[in-house]
Amino acid sequence: MDLIIESLPLLAKGLLVTFQLAVLTLLCATVLSAVFGLMGASRHWYLQAAALVYVEFFRDIPLVVNLLFVYFGAPLVGIPLDPFSAALVSFSSWGGANGAEIVRGGFNSISKHQRESAMALGLKPWESVCFVLAPQVLLPIIPAFTGLFSVLIQATSLASLVGALELFRSSQIIVERSTMMTGYSPAFTVYGVILCVYFVVCYSLTWLSKRLEKRLTDRASAGRNAQKLNQGAAESV
């Protein structure tokens, strides 16, 4: 336990890098998922096909392989990436594929009439997306994106494989250093503590996501009940 307290600064620095990586990844992934999610929900077959290829490609190839490929493959095309940027590129493309499915699901869950009414009102396609569809999609997909953030934080542990100094990599360093110096491996304690740190962070995000979802469905059902009440009132008059 002393070892953990001694190495708190290193762990804190690692946790900070983990958060940085996760937040930056989330931002990039959100942009990618908005673009590919819209493409997936569009009515043009070629856009749909392009989105499908992107999503399937990145979701079906293991993230580890993706990451190692970006890290070791980038120098071959003349842009050597440091571990952090390689992880950012790889996780963003992967997170974008997962997010695109969420966004596409959100758009497809909106009833067709909304789109048709927008068209009937003479809105241009981009206007109907920006002013009619997107505002309705935004709220319901927030819980899913909170869940995605939790998954991304877990995914950042993979960045240790290419040597980015995030939470898991710093714990590995602690284990290795202490094994070298004392000849006794504290792996059980250190990795156990790290598991608990990840658990606290990610479980609170999961909890938040569940809560948001519950609030949204409560609100939706409250809306429906209010509607029902209004209908009842109209009928009784």
Binding site: I61, F69, L161, L195, F199
Partner: protein, 223 residues
Amino acid sequence: MEYHFSFPYIWGAGPDLMSGLWMTIRISLVSIAISVVVGVVGASIRVFQIPVLSQLTSFYVNFVRSTPLLVQMFFIFYGLASLGMPLSAYWSGVLSLSLWGGAYNTENVRGGFLAIPHGLREASSAMAFNKFQFLILIALPVGMRVSIPAILNTSVSVLKNSAYLQAIGLAELTYVAMDRVAMDFRTLEMFAAIGVLYLGLVLLLSFAVRRLEYVLQRPYRTS
């Protein structure tokens, strides 16, 4: 820098890749089988609300789902060894993948059990079935039909996540490829090869999932 993509190199690496692929498939199948068993047991504990075990299962599911699989693997591989219980890379892999898949399958199977119509439960108590008979005769045949697509999706994830095992030095597909990359610097060739292999495996399995979903829905189809 000039880089010439060389197909003959991939053919040359064929035997190595095949042995890696075989290891990936073998460890995935073993882990998938164990994780389904874990899932059924966990879901039964949760659904029948067996006092202490139910809370423990719930914690196990949440814990595994909220922590990175890679850290779990290191915890099992290095952590157990530091306590004096060394497991080989293969068995650490099986253990961590099964625990990981089992947590997801517990939720999948539980979803299936919860979808069992209430009438069936009442009917089974009217027939004086005990819990175990209810589980074997009613819950599994009816509930599993609902949860099998989700279980297979988890199985696909287990297959993909077996690539994490290269970090603890198990000679599966990714490890073999990285090993050759380290020797010959044929990065693009090796990654193209394992990318195609993983894509092929996963697409094959997802196709099977979709097909199975169709077949499983057959009794409920009216036309």
